[in-house]
Amino acid sequence: MTRQLLLLLAAVAALGAGAAAAVIAILELQHVLG
């Protein structure tokens, strides 16, 4: 159970990393295209 929770937490962190990268790219695009 603890292991599964840890895996889920890690996966949420990975999703967060993806979202952070997307925000960086979107802000850069806004700056460039804006």
């Binding site: 890690a10 996966a11 990975a14 999703l15 952070a20 990268a21 997307a22 790219a25 850069e28």
Partner: protein, 576 residues
């Protein structure tokens, strides 16, 4: 791969050459110089000031002022004018009478160095203009180490993303369908590629900052704080950050994945989504930091560049992943494993190659003003080289189509028969991966060159091509005879331009003659001069118009006292 896929890959290779990050120029360009080019001043100027169309960073700029013996005449460092950020100023020693050469170099917003040269004289008795040795004025200041660093960066970043896609999405069912197999080797290859990618982006940033600021690569203490000085540098710092986020997310995604289960867990789905989102973000940034974002319509060019990189990454990483699979699968399971992985990859490759074609063609159309630019400019020639490299994949594709693919299909029934086609497939895929790496090199070179500016299209309608060297050319337009003389036709030297105008053998007097100079090799503002009638039907002027080595469009507009105006375009090649 399936026959139709291999055929498409092969056929696509030609047009895929028209792919990968392309470029167009929206460079910082010089608007005004003080003193003006080729002017003779009565008193020595205290400084040289260059006005650009946008703010330029003094730490990445250079202005050298030398006398005829190449002795430097500046008395202090270059700085930005306090009253106008677009102006760079360098103070001078007290100049003696004579001629001086100003050579300048700056970094434009998309990271490309722009450069030029001009002369001026201090009088009143400056004497005749000498022939200076003009520094090499090319469209790019790319060095071999910088090019290699760029190539390594593209290769590693694209491979890491492609390997992840192959491992997480394409090859995943293999473990379930073939006993005693795993995808650990592909995961390790992904980790190696991502570590190398993180290093390669940092090395590229450091080398590019070193080249731009004319410092040593090893001056880390000075250069690292400068990474974020230009928009280009800031873009690549963001790329490094996003790639690090991708690497972490992808690593987590591979750790939580249980490929023996057909259905993914929620954790696996979340992590894969995060990693793919980060990968998509990473591939936005090269276009946003480079030419694509400087070429109109920007939204379209940035999107094409992004899609193009996505497809290139999936293709390159997929080929590398297949090679890793081939090596890592147990000998007895190799053929069975390839039978699962290869057709799935073929489907993905088919779509990516089609998209590579479409985006490559789109980018080429946007960036090349005329078809002739393909063989008349360095930029176009690199595209042709890229086509050549990818054409070389045709024989490999044909061999795969005719030999290895049917062999693998036959081996589905009897695995022992699949050894030979599997070996052949490995050689061919290896060759294909090498060629794609070559194409990425061509792409790295391509994106370091400035594409021809829209003015290049003027060459197509030129009535004459002249130079290099002194020009004496005759052309006929609308019943008029135009004799053009340009002397000495050298860049950064005062040139005299003369036009002898006659009709029916008689000089045409009293006409209004103007000539517009457009730089055809890179984007610069054009200049227009009126020629004065200095003899019957002879119109001339000395002008500092050819400020750079390269091809110039000389557009004459002749308005006679009676009758309609006549125009003529001459392309002149000026050397240093």
């Amino acid at each position: 791969m399936r026959p139709r896929v291999r055929t498409s890959v092969a056929a696509g290779a030609v047009l895929a050459a028209l792919t990968l990050p392309a470029a167009a120029s929206a460079h910082a360009y010089l608007v005004r110089t003080t003193p003006a080019a080729s002017v003779t001043l009565n008193a020595p100027p205290p400084s040289v000031a260059l006005t650009f169309d946008e703010a330029v960073e003094p730490r990445f700029a250079l202005i050298s002022v030398t006398d005829v013996n190449a002795r430097p005449e500046t008395s202090g460092p270059l700085r930005r004018s306090p009253s106008n950020p677009d102006v760079l100023v360098v103070p001078l020693k007290r100049l003696a009478e004579g001629w001086y050469l100003v050579y300048w170099r700056a970094i434009s917003v998309d990271g490309h160095p722009v450069q030029g040269a001009f002369t001026f004289a201090v009088g009143p008795n400056a004497g005749p203009a000498p022939q200076f040795t003009v520094p090499h004025i090319a469209q790019t200041a790319t060095t071999t180490p910088l090019l290699l660093a760029r190539w390594a960066m593209f290769l590693t970043v694209m491979s890491a993303i492609g390997l992840f896609v192959l491992r997480a999405l394409v090859a995943r069912p293999l473990v379930r369908r073939v006993d005693e197999t795993n995808l650990r080797a592909v995961s390790v290859a992904f980790v190696v590629a991502s570590v190398l990618g993180l290093l390669a982006v940092a090395v590229y940033l450091e080398e590019s900052t070193a080249v731009d600021s004319l410092r040593s690569f090893w001056a880390f203490g000075t250069l690292v704080p400068l990474w974020r000085t230009t928009a280009f540098g800031r873009g690549y710092v963001k790329l490094e950050l996003c790639f690090a986020l991708f690497s972490v997310a992808a690593w987590v995604a591979l750790r939580v994945d249980r490929p023996r289960e057909e259905r993914r867990t929620v954790a696996s789905l979340l992590a894969v989504t995060g990693a793919l989102t980060a990968a998509a973000a990473v591939l936005v940034l090269p276009g946003a930091a480079g030419h694509a974002a400087q070429t109109s319509p920007r939204g379209v060019t940035v999107f094409l560049d992004w899609l193009h990189l996505v497809c290139g990454s999936v293709w390159l990483g997929g080929l590398l992943g297949l090679l890793v699979l081939w090596r890592s699968l147990p000998r007895a399971r190799r053929v069975a494993g390839l039978i699962v992985a290869v057709p799935r990859f073929s489907t993905v490759a088919f779509v990516t190659v089609l998209l590579l074609l479409a985006t490559g063609v789109g980018e080429t159309v946007v960036h090349l003003p005329v078809v002739g630019a393909l063989w008349q400019t360095s930029y176009g020639k690199v595209i042709l080289v890229k086509i050549g490299i990818l054409l070389a994949t045709l024989p490999l594709a044909a061999a795969n189509l005719l030999r290895s693919k049917p062999g693998l299909v036959a081996a589905a029934e009897q695995t022992a028969l699949g050894e030979r086609p599997a070996r052949l497939l490995r050689r061919l895929v290896g060759g294909e991966a090498l060629l794609v790496a070559g194409a990425v090199f061509a792409a790295a070179l391509l994106s370091s060159l400035a594409p021809p500016p829209p003015a290049f299209a003027e060459q197509e309608r030129a009535q004459a091509r002249v130079g290099p060297g002194r020009v004496a050319a005759t052309l006929k337009r609308d019943g008029y005879t135009l004799q053009l003389l340009v002397s000495p036709n050298r860049a950064a030297a005062p040139n005299s331009f003369a036009l002898r105008l006659s009709r029916g053998g008689r000089p045409v007097r009293g006409a209004d003659v103007t000539v517009q100079f457009s730089m055809l090799d890179m984007e610069m503002p054009s200049q227009e001069y009126r020629l004065a009638e200095t003899g019957p039907g002879v119109y001339s002027r000395r002008a500092p118009a050819l400020v750079m080595v390269g091809h110039w469009g000389l557009a004459f507009t002749i308005t006679p006292r009676t009758g309609p105006p006549v125009t003529a375009l001459v392309v002149d090649h000026a050397t240093g």
